[in-house]
């Protein structure tokens, strides 16, 4: 999707020192040798970039819930909503290890497999609902998470992925960014 909103990609070489510091932080935390377009498209506004990066880092990168579960949630919501950038990017993150093992059994294409523990499947299902239909979330959804073994802190952390993915999808969609070539190379 191409946006009319004037988001401009600010490459690392053209970024201000302040923005370069944030870019470096994203590379360190995500273990990537390049800046993702999702950050580069916010490079002209350091204040918002810093705020959005802080939100992403504390919600997705840090915490006690395995990162794979979070990546699967963001992939699933993005795919169902039709955010191509986020669906592709987070599928790459989620499947990265599977690819390196040289098999074709890709996690994002087997979300219903019973090889995936109930805790993963329940988290993906309930948080996807929270992201796409937040008004319909009821106590039963929280009970499902608790029955899957998640404690209060983990449930809050999981639910935080719902509002994170909405922010990720919104910015990706309205900025019209394309999937990063470097990410496609990792996936190939």
């Amino acid at each position: 999707m191409q946006s009319n909103y004037p988001f401009t990609i600010v490459p690392y070489e053209e970024a201000t020192p302040e923005v370069k510091l944030i870019y470096d932080d994203t590379k360190r935390a995500l273990g990537l040798p390049f800046v993702l377009n999702w950050f580069a498209c916010q490079g002209s506004n350091p204040l918002l970039l810093q705020g959005n990066w802080t939100k992403l880092r504390t919600t997705l990168v840090e915490g006690s819930v395995p990162n794979l579960i979070k990546q699967l949630i963001i992939y699933n919501v993005s795919a169902q909503r039709g955010c191509q950038y986020c669906a592709k990017a987070h599928a790459v993150f989620a499947n990265a290890m599977g690819k390196s093992l040289g098999d074709n059994f890709v996690v994002t294409e087997n979300l219903d497999s019973d090889l995936i523990p109930v805790s993963y499947r329940t988290a993906v299902k309930v948080v996807t609902k929270a992201a796409l239909q937040s008004a319909s979330v009821t106590a039963t959804d929280f009970e499902q998470l608790a029955d899957a073994g998640f404690d209060q802190g983990e449930i809050q952390e999981l639910m935080a992925q719902a509002d994170l993915v909405n922010m990720l999808n919104t910015i990706a969609d309205i900025s019209g960014i394309k999937i990063d070539n470097a990410l496609l190379e990792i996936d190939s």
Partner: protein
């Protein structure tokens, strides 16, 4: 590596790493329980998991369901029915005898999500008198699978090493406390002995001073009374020398009475000195 196992490893490698990390940070059995409660759900599905550690007749059992857990320490009486079987046979087994499952679950105080239909059990002996009996109650939506076995094996090895290290640290702590107590007792006894020695030294010093004082006084008394003895003694000696120049009649008539008188004088002088010394020693003592 099979595709299924590779997929399983992909799924849980991060969680297994987190489990190992959380376990390594645990320093008490309750922290281990919390680690198991938080992390095992990311590794495989279960209705209930039991980890029963044993060493030289001492048992630690962890019971775990998705919504709760407990840890208990004690004797072999803590083992559930199926664990007693595994304990004796050492043979891994998938048990699906409903009566045995019900029997085994009898002591459990935890609420299982659904009725389990299988128990997957292992008795992993790490030495002649130490090991871990592991059992996973499986069934319903939470099926334990063959692909989970290698994952469980890794978890079990980590867990055994952790429990062993905690137990070792506890034993060392207990020994250290005993040593501290023994050291404290020794210190107390040492203090008592030091006090006794100090008292003895004081007594000896006092007695020595007393003796020195008496010796000094004796010398002084001897000096003071020497002239008292010397005077009659000189007279006796003089009489003795004179006897050579006198005849026998003269000695008997003139000198003997003088000798008797002088001897009495000497005797009196000696008695005075002895009385004086006795009085002085009595006063000094």
């Amino acid at each position: 590596m099979s595709t299924v196992l590779a997929f399983k490893y992909r799924l849980i490698y991060e969680s297994l790493s987190r489990f190992s990390s959380a376990l390594s940070r645990s320093t008490t059995l309750d922290q281990v329980r919390q680690c198991l409660q938080g992390q095992i759900k990311y590794l495989f599905d279960y209705q209930l998991v039991r980890f029963s550690f044993y060493q030289q007749g001492y048992y630690v059992t962890f019971s775990l369901v998705p919504t709760g857990s407990n840890v208990v320490c004690g004797s072999a009486g803590l083992l559930w029915k199926h664990e007693q079987i595994l304990s004796e046979s050492h043979v891994p087994a998938i048990l699906d005898d409903a009566a045995l499952i019900a029997d085994s679950l009898q002591p459990s105080q935890l609420r299982l999500p659904e009725k389990p239909t299988q128990i997957w059990g292992w008795h992993v002996a790490f030495s002649a008198d130490s090991g871990l009996i592991v059992s996973v109650f499986s069934g319903g939506d939470r099926q334990f699978q063959p692909a989970d076995v290698p994952i469980l094996r890794i978890a079990v090895e980590n867990l055994y090493a952790k429990i062993l290290s905690i137990k070792l640290i506890e034993e060392l702590g207990s020994k250290q406390q005993e040593l501290q107590l023994a050291l404290s007792n020794l210190q107390e006894k040492n203090d008592v002995i030091a006090q006794l020695v100090a008292t003895q030294e004081a007594v000896i010093q006092y007695r020595t001073q007393e003796l020195e004082h008496k010796n000094t006084r004796l010398l002084e008394v001897s000096r003071q009374h020497a002239h008292t003895i010397r005077e009659p003694l000189s007279r006796i000696l003089s009489l003795a020398y004179l006897m050579e120049t006198f005849s026998a009649e003269e000695i008997m008539e003139e000198m003997m009475p003088m000798l008797v008188v002088t001897s009495h004088d000497l005797d009196k002088a000696l008695q005075q000195i002895i009385s004086s010394i006795d009085a002085d020693l009595t006063t000094a003592g």
